[in-house]
């Protein structure tokens, strides 16, 4: 088929075509606003963050503690109603040095997103495919020194400024050697 066809449909445009007014277009912006109910599990999680506590949920049947909490265990489909306070320290499971913002602006100093397995939650291991990890950012660290396995600790917003949001944790920073 492709061997017999010389012409394929599809017409490529470039920026110049737009600049030259050769292409007409309509500009529009979507007004879409939502107020999502946080519900039981995430509502409890956010209330914990406001108090400076990271809550996980524990499944007695699967014997695992995960974060963020949820009302049903996705592996055994039993209700999960036990909330467990976790440490605000953890281990970097993976990270990136990102030189592009969410809306594709270039930046010189990278953002450092990471998946952090929290202390007190389930850890990956020979017996466990699950871990209590969350996505957050790292700060107060030389990007070149970040590594998988690095020990980190949450840096919280001042209590008065916390609003019950994931951003109540500003970022995670390296734990001093003696505490790591």
């Amino acid at each position: 088929m492709t061997s017999r066809i010389n012409h394929f449909p599809g017409t490529s445009l470039n920026e110049q075509d737009f600049a030259d007014g050769k292409v007409l277009f309509v500009h529009d912006a979507l007004k879409a606003e939502y107020a999502w109910d946080t519900g039981i599990a995430i509502g409890t999680y956010l209330a914990g963050l406001k108090r400076g506590v990271i809550l996980g949920a524990h499944c007695r049947h699967c014997r695992k503690t995960v974060v963020p909490p949820r009302t049903v265990c996705e592996w055994c489909f039993r209700p999960m109603s036990e909330y467990i306070p976790l440490q605000d320290t953890g281990t970097v499971n993976t990270f990136s040095l990102c030189y592009v913002t969410w809306d594709v602006r270039r930046i010189k100093e990278p953002e450092i997103p990471a998946v952090i397995t929290l202390d007190g939650a389930s850890q990956l291991g020979p017996a466990s495919l699950f871990m209590g990890g969350i996505m957050h950012k790292l700060g107060e660290v030389n990007p070149e020194q970040v590594h998988i396995g690095m020990r980190v600790k949450a840096v919280w917003k001042p209590e008065k400024e916390r609003e019950g949001a994931i951003t109540d944790i500003l970022y995670f920073k390296p734990l001093p050697k003696e505490e790591a």
Binding site: V26, L30, Y34, A35, G39, A41, R70, V72, E74, F77
Partner: protein, 386 residues
Amino acid sequence: MNKEVAIIGVGWSGFHPSTPEVSYKELMYAAAVRAYADAGVDPRRDIESFVTVAEDFIEGTSIFDEYVPDQLGAALKSVHTITGDGLHGLATAYMLIRTGVFDVVAVEGHSKASNIQTLDSIVGHAQDPVLNRPLRLNTHFVAGLEMQRYLHDSGSSLEQCAAVVVKNRHNALKNPLASYSANLTAEDVMQGPPLAWPLGRLETATPVDGSVVIVLASGRKAAELSDNPVWIAGMGWCNGSASLESREWSTLPYVEKAAQMAYRQAGIGDPWDEVDFAEIDDTYAYKELQSLEALGICAFGEAGELLMQGAFDPYGEFPVNASGGSLGVGHLLDATGLHRALEAVLQLRGEAGAHQIEDVHTGLVQSWRGVPTTSAAVAIFDNQEG
């Protein structure tokens, strides 16, 4: 009679104008756990495939199918999402089982309409971005245009449209799931605020929150698991013209085609005689009349008259929306078709409570995806007792 696929479990949650106590995931879980208990299945062990219906802009999340599996017991299983009405989801499960590869499939649909702050603006973005949207008309105008032309061509009246609202919201008085049950007169409806004249605000269903989960099984598996299966005798679906510029305005050819497809499978020649009741589209009051005609339950222009004679009342010759319909219960966005299927299943099992219709064997369910679409689906259910 078609005995390949049966509904063996139904579950629901919510059905309120708002559900602030639960997240959308918790709303879905509550419906799922109830459906699985009703079917007597463990989702982790028994359910082989899952189908959800959802639209990104309604959820406020792109690629919403990401967030489906956990609360349905579907993590690391065969799951997919379609952007359709709940009946399209049911049709998908029906096809999956008919391939012979799957024995048990679950379908989920939900609405968290209360969380959407700018629903009209979002629906406005379903209009053609170049040809229609720049006119900045609230999308209900499409229903206004259609109603106007429908009344003109069919000879149906504003009173008859208002009578649909009176009937459905009255029927809803007996349905514990209903949020908008009321005793109204046609006058009350016609004197209500206009929306897109001739369409009035009270002739338009109001969104509610809720989730519905339905469990389907192959004939073999249904015989093993269920003592009250409701069989899917036929399913049809069809799209009409996507553009406003080239569509029929007074008739619904896509509903007609969807119905013909379903009737062919079910072996139904005359739905008036062979079907006992229907739960059909009443997103806007005139739609119930227009749809009845497209479904071939009566001739074009006859539905209004039959309605006034009481033919579509719960105790009439052909009960329509005995549940209260979307006008009485509330509109569950794309879960609406599943709500209607749920009501039909309860009727066919004899579990509809105060609004149970006597002696029913075959039910028809129809749904439409709302303005500005021309997308409809039809299902025929049977309890095999007839």
